[in-house]
């Protein structure tokens, strides 16, 4: 039987010689390409040294020449050699395939910080953004949104608003006139009149829209801007309702700790009249922000926003409403000024330049 054993040993030695370069495979300097090459060579070696047609499988045929009592031992020898071969190859394969799959993953490693792929999104105009937010608040408070003509007759722009001919507010050089005698509305209060004519009373509306004043454009003035006018007329409406309403929407916009302040003032279309301020949204009324004088409120803690008051009885009479039965409040404020304060804009003209570098800062 020694002859047969020798044959088996020869096969083993031949394998070990060939396999030598795959033993303790050093992949430290390998690349994916070289590993693939080694892997291919190992596969060839595996084909030759394993399976039914391999040399070691061939040695099993020698079992007929072995004495019967030694056949079992010979069989075990062949099987153990075969098992060694397979396990050595598989070990090398495992090592290689781990390396290859690691290398592949590594090769497909991404820079996750590169920007995502999407078309540029545009931006609503700052005025639209603020108008929509305020409209949402008032609609939820039961108000209808109204607008109307931008070029008006003197009747709607002045007379019906208790600004008769000869009134200083009318003669002031604020109003644009067309050559055929119409006025560019100088306040959205005109919509009060139009809306009450249309809807009658009781009424609850806000009227956002463009208004025009003959101001030469500079850092703080523009000849066209946007106003929001509010009007509530019903039985038993008092100034307390005015204060409550203005406070409510400002709190919804700027937070529930916002407080308001009303100061006596004068407007032809309201009596009594008041200007209203609210506690600064930035410093929360303290006047100081991060240890410095707060910018939006100039350190006062208050932001002056608009005018308001109880609708003048002459305005109610102008639309056929009996001021003895109904009363109401109105308020108004400018959106550009509000935006300028909210975003610390130092030049209000930017609003109408349509400079994309400006527009894309807001959404």
């Amino acid at each position: 039987m020694s002859e047969e054993r020798e044959k088996v040993e020869e096969v083993r030695t031949a394998f070990l010689n060939e396999f030598d370069r795959f033993r303790d495979l050093d992949l430290s300097t390998a690349t994916l390409a070289s590993a693939d090459e080694v892997s291919r060579e190992l596969a060839e070696l595996k084909v030759r040294h394993t399976g039914k047609k391999s040399a070691i499988a061939g040695t099993m045929k020698l079992i007929g020449r072995v004495a019967p009592e030694e056949r079992s031992a010979f069989g075990q020898l062949v099987q153990s050699v075969e098992k060694d071969i397979v396990s050595m190859i598989e070990a090398a394969e495992a090592k290689l395939s781990e390396f290859i799959s690691d290398a592949r993953i590594e090769r497909e490693r991404l820079d996750v910080t590169l920007p995502g792929r999407r078309p540029r999104t545009g931006h609503l105009h700052l005025i639209t953004i603020l108008r929509q937010r305020i409209e949402d608040i008032f609609v939820s408070m039961g108000y209808h949104i109204e607008d109307d003509r931008e070029i008006e007759t003197d009747y709607y722009n002045f007379d019906a608003l208790n600004i008769p001919d000869g009134h200083p507010a009318r003669e002031s050089q604020d109003t644009f006139y067309t050559t055929d005698g119409f006025a560019l509305r100088s306040q959205t209060s005109t919509v009060q009149i139009r809306a009450m004519e249309r809807r009658g009373v009781p009424i609850r509306i806000i009227a956002p829209g463009k208004v025009f004043r003959r101001d030469t454009p500079d850092m703080t003035h523009v000849p066209m801007f946007h106003q929001i006018e509010g009007l509530c007329v019903d039985k038993d409406i008092t100034m307390a309702h005015l204060k409550g309403t203005v406070t409510e929407w400002l709190q919804r916009l700027f937070g529930s700790d916002t407080v308001t302040r009303f100061r006596p003032s004068y407007f032809p279309f309201t009596e009594p009249s008041a200007e209203f301020d609210f506690s600064c949204f930035k410093c929360r009324g303290t006047g100081q922000f991060e240890g410095e004088r707060c910018r939006p409120c100039k350190g006062s803690g208050w932001i002056e926003l608009g005018g308001s008051g109880m609708v003048h009885p002459n305005v109610l009479r102008a639309v056929g409403v009996d001021p003895g039965v109904y009363s109401g409040f109105a308020f108004g404020f400018g959106l550009e000024r509000m935006c300028a304060m909210m975003y610390s804009l130092d030049d209000i003209r930017l609003m109408f330049d349509n400079d994309v570098r400006f527009l894309e800062q807001f959404r």
Partner: protein, 693 residues
């Protein structure tokens, strides 16, 4: 307006320091904007509303404070001598020929005065409130104006011809050289204070140079008068001349305060400049009657309008402190007399405001009105909101441009349909004048604004720009009718396709990007029947212009900006624009989708290519297919267009996909072969395009 704290203390006993006084004033609507030191004095800078000319003096401010302090204003408790010169004698010196605009005129002659510098206390007082000292007599008139609110003027009596005053309107062609050494042309609406011959002062506005006080003046005539507000305002506007005096007269002074003011000034002149005063001349043709405001229950009125609970006694106390006295008529009717210095107390609501502001707005409650019902957006707002959002999602920024534009845009842009309702040419709405050079036209179109914006952005190296705007355009209607206002929607597209946070654009935008945006916008507002047709539009380049129609009605245009206009802007890259009359589009209700059952059987799609000239439109091929009216033709879609190699110049190949499908069975090719051939020959017949195999 500047108010001296020390001066104020001369007039009224104050509670608290200057800060406290400032707080009290601000609280009642006389906003103190700042307190500035001046020597040992403090100066309050007060921002007054236009309805309170009575507060343009220390007296007026003291009166407001007296409601709070409860102490009277001292000068008002002093007696004023009221024994004027008999009218017979006075008439030789002062005559009013225009009593409709000069309601009262007082004069007082002070003889043997010595003009010289003012004493230090007077100079200090004036400087504290920002006034410059001139000489003792001029300073005294200025001082009394700031103290009592009454403007006055001093003449050199010896320079008045005839030594007398005639108050009359200017004669046409008359002129006067005023104190500022400007010669002014007068007209017959202007009130003049004249001597026997010529104008010596523009009444209530400014004195004349020839009759003014100089260092040599010995005899002074002091005028203290009351003029009709409207007259002063009109003359001041016409002459473009505003003075401290005209400012007060045109807002209204106190006709009952004239004698007190005159007396105060004369006493000071005698005291500081020497001299002896003649009797007061007071010409007061028709005596002023105080206004009367009926209010039977002021407490209830206050409650009704402000929610404040203020007793009748307290209301009356506040009003009384302000000089508004209650009176009960014979039949028990209660009314309040409007004081002569208050021109703003005419109705009960005015009284309510007085009570409310002195009770304090901070004491008014804070409550919401009773619930009313659901709120509602403007009818078109939800659709406009979707339109805006859709464009924003497509990369457009929203622009807002001025509604007035330059005349250089006249006739440059075709107006959208529905704007020029009378058709007849350009009916611009034009402003009398503008504050922006040249911008006197109310816009016919939003496009000039958007193109200006494109230029601005290009100048700032932003060459990839997509903007849209919603807003009104205007056209005159004529016949005294207000202008036609239409809500438009416009967009502009230029440069390349930008990706967020990426520096490189992927490709240049073209006509179809602008068109796609229009389609998306119209879909967003619920338009389903949108169509485009080649059109000639003045401001668009020939061959790249389309009309836009909704349900067959033209609503706007789309295309590439004409070379002409582009050259004017120095645009070196193509610019695509569209403008639509949005109001017309939104005039019809949004279409609600109709459900169609999902297909149960597979269909067959066939792509066909046609070679055609540039004049054969894709839509005419599509229409030719659909005109077959076959139930089996379920969809026609555009696949691709090709021009160039293999085709001759002016030709292009259009590929169209047709989907055939039956609702009740699976189609086999042989079933549609015939129909398909029919389709092909129909396209060929109608469009002269030839199939390409």
């Amino acid at each position: 307006m500047n108010i001296s704290y020390n001066w104020l203390k001369d007039l009224i006993d104050l509670k608290g320091n200057a800060e406290e006084v400032a707080r009290q004033l601000t609280r009642v609507g006389l906003a103190v904007e700042g307190i500035h030191p001046h020597g040992d004095d403090l100066v309050l800078d007060i921002d007054l509303t236009s309805n309170r000319p009575d507060c343009l003096s220390h007296l007026g401010i003291a009166r407001e404070l007296s409601v709070y302090t409860g102490s009277p204003v001292k000068v008002l408790t002093e007696d004023v001598p009221d024994v004027p010169m008999p009218a017979v004698l006075a008439g030789d010196i002062v005559r009013i020929d225009a009593p409709d605009i000069c309601h009262r005129f007082t004069a007082r002659i002070v003889r043997n005065v010595k003009i010289g510098p003012s004493p230090k206390w007077l100079v200090d007082r004036l400087e504290a409130i920002g006034e410059r000292s001139i000489n003792n007599v001029a300073d005294i008139t200025n001082y009394v104006m700031h103290e009592l609110g009454q403007p006055m003027h001093s003449f050199d009596l010896d320079k008045l011809e005839g030594g007398r005053i005639v108050v009359r309107r200017a004669a046409a062609g008359e002129t006067i050289t005023t104190l500022d050494e400007v010669e002014r042309n007068l007209d017959d609406s202007m009130l003049m204070i004249c001597d026997a011959v010529k104008p010596a002062a523009i009444g209530g506005i400014m004195g004349g140079l020839n009759s003014s006080i100089t260092d040599d003046t010995v005899n002074v005539l002091l005028e203290v008068a009351f003029f009709k507000r409207e007259s002063i305002r009109s003359t001041s506007r016409k002459l473009n001349l505003t003075t401290e005096a005209s400012y007060r007269f045109e807002r209204g002074v106190d006709i009952d305060n004239l004698v007190r003011a005159s007396d105060r000034a004369v006493r000071l002149i005698c005291e500081l400049a020497g001299g002896v005063a003649d009797d007061l001349i007071d010409v007061y043709p028709s005596v002023h009657r105080a206004g009367r405001v009926v209010s039977n229950d002021i407490s209830a009125a206050v409650k009704r309008l402000t929610g404040l609970t203020v007793s009748t006694d307290e209301c009356d106390r506040i009003l009384e402190s302000l000089g508004i006295t209650a009176e009960t008529g014979e039949e028990g009717e209660k009314s309040y007399l409007s004081p002569t210095w208050r021109h703003d107390i005419a109705i009960e609501e005015d009284l309510v405001e007085e009570v409310a502001r002195h009770t304090g707005y901070e004491n008014i409650g804070v409550e919401l009105p009773p619930a009313f019902g659901a709120g509602e957006y403007q009818h078109n707002e939800p659709r406009e909101k979707r339109l805006r959002q859709t464009l924003v999602d497509q990369g457009f920024d929203e622009a807002i441009s001025y509604s007035f534009i330059d005349t250089r845009f006249d006739g440059m842009f075709d107006a959208v349909p529905g704007l020029l309702i009378h058709g007849g040419g350009d009916r611009f709405v034009t402003l009398n004048d503008s504050v922006i050079e040249g911008a006197v036209r109310m816009r016919h179109s939003i496009l000039p604004g958007l193109l200006d914006a494109v230029r601005l952005n290009l100048n700032f190296q932003r060459r990839d720009v997509r903007l849209f705007e919603l807003g009104k355009a205007f056209a005159a209607v004529g016949d005294g009718e207000p202008p036609n206002e239409q809500e438009l929607f416009a967009l502009v597209v230029t440069g390349g396709e930008v990706h967020q946070d990426r520096a490189m654009t992927t490709r240049e935008l073209d006509f179809y990007d602008a068109k796609g945006a229009v389609e998306a916008a119209m879909a967003a507002v619920g338009v389903t029947d949108l169509s485009f047709r080649a059109a000639d539009v003045q401001h668009l380049r020939r061959g790249q212009a389309a009309s836009i129609a909704v349900s067959g009605e033209i609503v706007g245009s789309l295309g590439r900006l004409s070379d002409n206009i582009a050259a004017g802007y120095k645009f070196k890259q193509p610019v695509y624009i569209a403008e639509i009359n949005l109001q017309m589009v939104l005039g019809s209700a949004a279409k609600t989708p109709v459900y169609r059952p999902l297909p149960k059987f597979p269909g067959i799609t066939r792509d066909v290519s046609f070679i055609a000239g540039r004049d054969a439109a894709y839509t005419s091929m599509r229409d030719a297919i659909l005109s077959q009216g076959s139930d089996l033709i379920k969809a026609v879609d555009f696949v691709d267009v090709y021009e160039g190699k293999g085709l001759s110049e002016g030709e292009r190949s259009i590929t169209i996909r047709i989907e055939y499908r039956s609702d009740d069975r699976t189609l086999v090719d042989s079933e549609i072969d015939g129909l398909h051939l029919q389709v092909l020959s129909e396209i060929e017949r109608k469009t002269r395009a030839r199939p390409r195999f």
